[in-house]
Symmetry: C2
Subunit: 351 residues, 2 copies
């Protein structure tokens, strides 16, 4: 039974129930609905319609003498066909624009900020996957002396991402020597892909460095870390405190369980898995999500892209009773802007 096989009136009733439930988190009764939504029919009629909607699986009843609550299927129909488009408010649009114009150029930072903002705008926690890009190369390595026993190792990638580490040595390293090593490292490694730094090169470098071979260790370490970060993206959770506002998390045990589940990076990645290899915005509602732990939650997620390549995911997490029109509207507006910005920043037309 598809949603468009239902009568217009049934659809309107279904939408009205969902909206009321989203608003109040209380099961919706026929009488209240007859009064509130101007459908022009009596509660008895609505009751009959509701009975059918229940039979067909669009609605559920927490117990016999209670009002109705949307089923996952009901929400799905609402999201896909019934809901009205939401237009972002001026204030929301302003904040989004301000963010997009802030011109944070480094991709990772930009995405981190994006996660914060979308969580603030929507009022729900956000998940952001750090960008995963292949073919990232070493652009530049720099060893900056801090004092005779310390130097800072700075690695700049072809992406403009910087990794750095403060290193200590047992023996003093003359400044001059550090510069020489810097030059040597750059001659050998600049332009090489992070994941392609080969055993041969390392062996060669080791030989060239002679007694200062130990400098190599932190360098390899940081290259390895940078490569790992590119290959194994982290998923960052933000704004989780906002869940406390949701009545479905009034139970502290449930809240804790949910947060504990989200502690693990692997779990967070799995939360976002439905978005991977999927164009546009993906919404999973309740049981639709493969993860058992999300059976009462909905996830709105979308890839962010550079050129045509999706490089990461950004998402909002909330109870199934989410304010879909508002949040989806905000999310769409926001991710469109974000993708446009990324396009502009990372794929300039003249390249």
């Amino acid at each position: 039974m598809e949603i468009y096989d239902l009568s217009e009136r049934k659809r309107r009733i279904l939408a009205a129930i969902i909206e009321s439930y989203i608003d109040t988190a209380e099961p919706v009764g026929s009488k209240a609905l007859a009064e509130a939504a101007g459908l022009g029919v009596s509660s008895a009629t609505i009751r009959n319609e509701m009975a059918e909607l229940k039979e067909l699986g669009w609605l559920e009843q927490p117990h016999t003498s209670a009002g109705s609550v949307p089923s996952s299927r009901g929400y799905r129909a609402y999201v896909d066909y019934l809901m009205q488009r939401y237009h972002v408010s001026e204030q929301e649009s302003k904040r989004t624009q301000a963010f997009l114009e802030s011109r944070v150029a480094e991709l990772e930072r930009l995405i981190a900020e994006a996660g914060k903002l979308i969580s603030e705008l929507s009022g729900y926690p956000s998940l952001t996957m750090t960008p995963k890009r292949s073919g990232v190369a070493i652009r530049h390595i720099n060893l900056v002396p801090v004092d005779p026993y310390q130097f800072v190792l700075v690695l700049v990638t072809s992406e403009g991402t910087v990794k750095n580490n403060l290193c200590r040595t047992r023996q003093p390293l003359p400044t001059e020597l550090l510069y020489e090593i810097t030059e040597l490292l750059n001659r050998r490694l600049a332009g090489v892909e992070l994941s392609q730094v080969s055993v041969m090169e390392i062996a060669q470098l080791r030989r060239s460095l002679g007694e200062f071979e130990f400098v190599l260790q932190p360098v390899l370490q940081i290259i390895h870390e940078a490569a790992m970060a590119m290959e194994n993206p982290e998923v960052i959770l933000g704004g989780e405190g906002r869940l406390l506002e949701q009545p479905e998390f009034r139970d502290i045990g449930r809240m804790k369980e949910f947060l504990d589940f989200l502690q693990d990076n692997e779990a967070r990645r799995q939360v976002l898995s439905p978005a991977e290899g999927h164009e546009g915005i993906t919404v999973t509602i309740g049981q639709e999500h493969p993860l058992e732990q999300l059976r009462d939650s909905s996830v709105i997620m979308g890839n962010y892209r550079i050129g045509d390549r999706p490089v990461g995911v950004i998402a909002i997490l909330g109870p199934t009773r989410m304010d879909y029109p508002r949040v989806l509207g905000q999310f769409e507006y926001f991710t469109n802007g974000l993708n446009r910005l990324l396009q502009e920043l990372f794929e300039p037309p003249d390249q």
Copy 2:
């Protein structure tokens, strides 16, 4: 009335009550106490003693027919005189040692990690103030080209801290030129204190740069940011989810109120204010803390030092009903180790 004016037995009873309350979060009655704690006296005797302890303000009663609960003053006496020293477990000691040997050399990262670990060990949220140091100078500035329209700006301080920013330009910047600018910047700025970058120098630099003056803007920006970070430390909150385990935060409204209060960096700084200018470990219990919002919480805090100069604060936050022996023991062990490490890392004997 000082604690040592009380009879030995009263003190033992007080300690037993506090320990039981810390353990169970339930008011302690005379009967239960007589059975559990092997004091060798009847509940009636304990009752009489408890009545006196209440009169003298060491205990409180939530309502007439309930057991006793320690007052702030009671906890204070417990912490200062009554409690038994706790010896960190092998596992705790191992984890602490592993952390201290991990040799994260950069101060800010080290402190951030320290906050995470102490929160994990103690089971309470932690607050860590980022190090505040004066006299930090620019060690090195580097502009690394990423593509013709982008370069990475890297600032290394005399502390070994790295700040970086990816910058975009409207006009292409030849690599050669970037190197020249880098050299110029270093000639003029290396060694200068962050807060002392003067208007004169800037004006001079501007003139020297001519049409490439625009490069100066992000440089000044990042110097400013780095200087601000040194002067205005941030206080980082971690492990706040662990509060959910505490029965005093079973009420979601209270939890939310508390977290909201801790959102603000200024508020977080004020939480740590009692530790400033105070040697060793500072404990504030309940109303002792100047902040009204902490009337039901205790804070364990201590400065971390470099040489003799305290440069920041690390703290644990919990309900007044905290496991003081355990947490104080862990905290002491941990901060001692941390300070030793900082001493070793940042004040080598041969300097």
